[in-house]
């Protein structure tokens, strides 16, 4: 390995150039992650430094406790995973479709007042999520705007933020299944019965889902819009010459070209939704009956309320693994298929 030569000094220069970025990343990103990883392996109770010999080292106990011990901690964790899974399942598709739809409308050449609509759709994204959450609390209050609207058309609106019933349970109740079938209620996995796993998002969670879809679709709309405006018009025109109708052109020509943007939007959506915290903190704190408990909020509560910082950190690392797994999965699903 003789790296010397005419370009021998470039390597040193390169390192010097990237050093500021590396130092900042290391100090504010890698280092805190390593420290949190250490905390997750200890029984630190939040008094003084976690990096002294007096802090008990417990190995992987904080992690195994989340999956293997039949107690409240595991039940809370699994409940939070269930709630967040339903949340992701609804929010990601809805916000992606809504964002794409809005972007397509704005990209339409015949639309008038484009900049007005663009601003209007984007506005929720640039407003503080705490401020929007508080406004939504008022709108979804028992005597609030949403229920007033519903009652105007003759619907008796639910008590949004105090209704812990899951949507699937409500639907089953409508068709005559009032109590859990024994097959589902008596068996379960990881501390929750099958009946609990299959509850669906609660009414309270639905209000939060509405809020999040509304606020984030603006951001993703801008991404789709940028991608749409970059697409070569010739392909679309070629499709027209070949006699493709609008739907065929969208499905066969536009959408495939949006694949990279779609990947970006879905990935960012997955990451953001698995980490949902501020809306929960402001609006519900996990209530009613734990149906809006999410891993991020549970991690915070375990650490700062129960002084169990080790478990709290462990929950956040499990959450990190979940996000990585889902991102890899959807990367595989959205891959370029050859010979298609």
């Amino acid at each position: 390995m003789s790296a010397k030569g005419i370009r021998g000094n470039e390597r040193t220069a390169g390192w010097i150039f990237v050093a500021p970025a590396l130092i900042i990343l290391g100090l504010f990103f890698v280092l805190p992650i390593l420290m949190a990883l250490w905390v997750s392996l200890t029984g630190w109770n939040g008094q003084g430094s976690p990096f002294t010999s007096r802090v008990p080292f417990v190995g992987l106990h904080n992690y195994t406790a989340l999956f293997a011990t039949d107690d409240l901690a595991r039940q809370d964790f699994m409940t939070s995973i269930r709630n967040n899974a339903y949340y992701v399942l609804l929010v990601v598709p809805l916000q992606t479709v809504l964002a794409l739809g809005l972007a397509l409308v704005l990209n339409n050449r015949i639309l008038k007042g484009k900049s007005f609509f663009r601003t209007a759709f984007f506005f929720p994204s640039v407003t503080s999520s705490v401020a929007i959450s508080v406004v939504f609390l008022f709108m979804f209050a028992n005597g609030g705007a949403i229920n007033a609207l519903l009652s105007a058309v003759g619907i008796n609106g639910p008590q949004w933020f105090s209704d812990p019933r899951g949507l699937i349970h409500i639907a089953l109740d409508r068709v005559g299944v009032h109590n859990a079938p024994a097959a589902l209620a008596d068996h379960g996995v990881l501390g929750l019965t099958w009946w609990d796993w299959l509850s669906g998002p609660s009414v309270a969670m639905c209000a939060i889902i509405t809020l999040v879809v509304w606020t984030t679709s603006g951001t993703f709309m801008v991404m789709f819009l940028a991608a749409l405006q970059n697409l070569p018009i010739q392909l679309d025109e070629a499709g027209m010459v070949d006699g493709a109708n609008a739907w065929q052109r969208f499905w066969r020509i536009t959408l495939p070209q949006l694949r990279p943007t779609m990947f970006l939007v879905v990935t960012l959506g997955l990451i953001g939704t698995w980490q949902v915290f501020d809306q929960i903190y402001v609006m519900s704190q996990g209530n009613p009956a734990k149906t809006t408990l999410t891993p991020a909020f549970l991690s915070y509560r375990t650490a700062f309320r129960d002084f169990d910082y080790g478990s709290g950190a462990a929950i956040s690392f499990v959450l990190f693994l979940i996000i990585v797994l889902f991102t890899l999965l959807q990367r595989w699903l959205l891959r370029e298929r050859r010979g298609h």
Partner: protein, 411 residues
């Protein structure tokens, strides 16, 4: 290639080294006590509003001036989280409010200085309140005020139902029978908050409680507790009492203030809510009806905690002394409507506010919150069970609590 791998290794090693360096930086400096000379005290309070913030700031400024120290009052947005950060960084405020419901968590991890154990004049405080701040037989801090639950009666609805002062219930049976009379007139008799902080009062009246007095054992699954929950369930099932949610109210006091119910059981904080939000409702306050094992109510309180890591423990203790004199407690009571926690001050308070006598009486036999560490999630789970009490099984709720609490208490 080899050199690149070395570079990566070097970066990783550097990061680890930095972690270590940070670690030593965080290490506790030998707690250097400064017991004489001017101290600079940080006081963190969870304020109920502007009135309390101003009153505490004024009192602190006065103390600072007369003692030659400085005192900086910080009203916290979220005291649990802000304290958590301070404690983790070894830099907590010197003096801070500790809620009785959270006290054991702080005491068990060694965050609190047990100054009250040796503090002169600690005997003056109500014994029941002191019990709320005792952990492993040590009194850690002195209560700054107290609140208790009592029965509030809407006098207009009461007479509308054909009831008089002679009908005011003093036992469970009487409560049931007046509630039936009120219901017969088409009025909802009672609003009860759907948490352990209200329903727990029935447990006390039946002679039970969630945990043993020293907070080391879960004792929910007993016949007394089952009797109490069954009684509350019968009230709910027969429409004699409703949860605030079912009355479209945020809390029982709101349902009461809107005139939707004839009775409710809330603490002395309802006074402030009634006078600002619902000034037109006429009501009277009585002690809670007694259960099979006599009178019982719940008391709520906060204490003046001193951080174990404070540099100015002596001055902090002097500050707490000044904040808890009978005169100071009475002036706090006047400023923002809390009850004193000292027996002598309570007597004066009762004379000055005869209408509040039931609240003061309650302080004598009130039961404090569950006093054990790591119970936050267990109690949250209990509340979820109590929300479903109307259709639930009382015994199952109690057994579930015992199972969860046993894990948390490690017994």
């Amino acid at each position: 290639m080899i050199s690149r791998r070395w570079a990566v290794a070097a970066v990783a090693a550097g990061a680890l080294l930095a972690t270590g360096a940070c670690g030593s930086g965080f290490d506790e400096n030998k707690s250097t006590q400064q017991s004489s000379g001017p101290a600079s005290l940080q006081i963190m309070i969870a304020s109920s509003g502007d009135a309390e913030t101003t009153a505490v700031k004024d009192a602190a400024a006065m103390w600072a001036k007369s003692s030659g120290n400085t005192a900086n009052v910080i009203p916290a947005q979220d005291i649990v989280q802000q304290l958590g950060q301070g404690l983790a960084g070894s830099n907590p405020p010197d003096v801070f409010y500790v809620d009785a419901a959270r006290f054991a968590d702080y005491a068990s991890v060694g965050a609190l200085e047990p100054y009250a154990q040796t503090m002169a004049g600690a005997d003056a405080f109500v014994p029941g309140l002191k019990q709320s701040f005792t952990y492993k037989d040590q009194l850690y801090c002195v209560p700054k005020d107290s609140s208790t639950l009592a029965l509030e009666i809407n006098t207009d609805l009461w007479s509308k139902a054909g009831l008089t002062d002679a009908d005011i219930p003093t036992t469970w049976d009487q409560l049931t029978s007046v509630a039936q009379k009120i219901k017969a007139k088409g009025i909802t008799p009672m609003a009860i908050g759907d948490t352990r902080d209200r329903i727990g009062a029935f447990l006390v009246q039946a002679g039970g409680w969630w945990t043993s007095p020293d907070g080391t054992k879960a004792t929910a699954d007993t016949p007394q507790n089952e009797q109490a929950l069954a009684y509350v369930q019968s009230l709910l099932k027969n429409g004699l009492a409703k949860y605030p949610k079912a009355l479209d109210a945020g809390w029982a006091g709101e349902a009461f203030g809107k005139g939707k119910v004839a009775m409710t059981m809330e603490g002395n904080w309802i006074r402030g809510a009634m006078s600002t939000d619902f000034p037109n409702i006429k009501y009277t306050v009585k002690e809670l009806p007694a259960g099979p094992k006599g009178k019982g109510t719940l008391s709520f309180t906060q204490c003046w905690g001193i951080a174990a890591k404070s540099k100015f423990k002596t001055q902090a203790q002097q500050f707490v002394q000044a904040m808890t004199t009978a005169d100071q407690q009475l002036s706090f009571a006047k400023a923002f409507g809390v009850m004193p926690s000292r027996q002598d001050a309570q007597a004066t308070y009762e004379q000055q506010n005869p209408d509040d006598a039931p609240f003061v009486e309650g302080a004598k036999y009130g039961q404090g919150p569950v006093n054990a560490p790591k119970m936050d999630s267990v109690l949250a789970d209990l509340d979820a069970g109590l929300q479903g009490l109307q259709t639930g099984d009382p015994k199952a709720i109690l057994q579930r609590f015992d199972k969860n609490a046993k894990t948390a208490l490690g017994g």
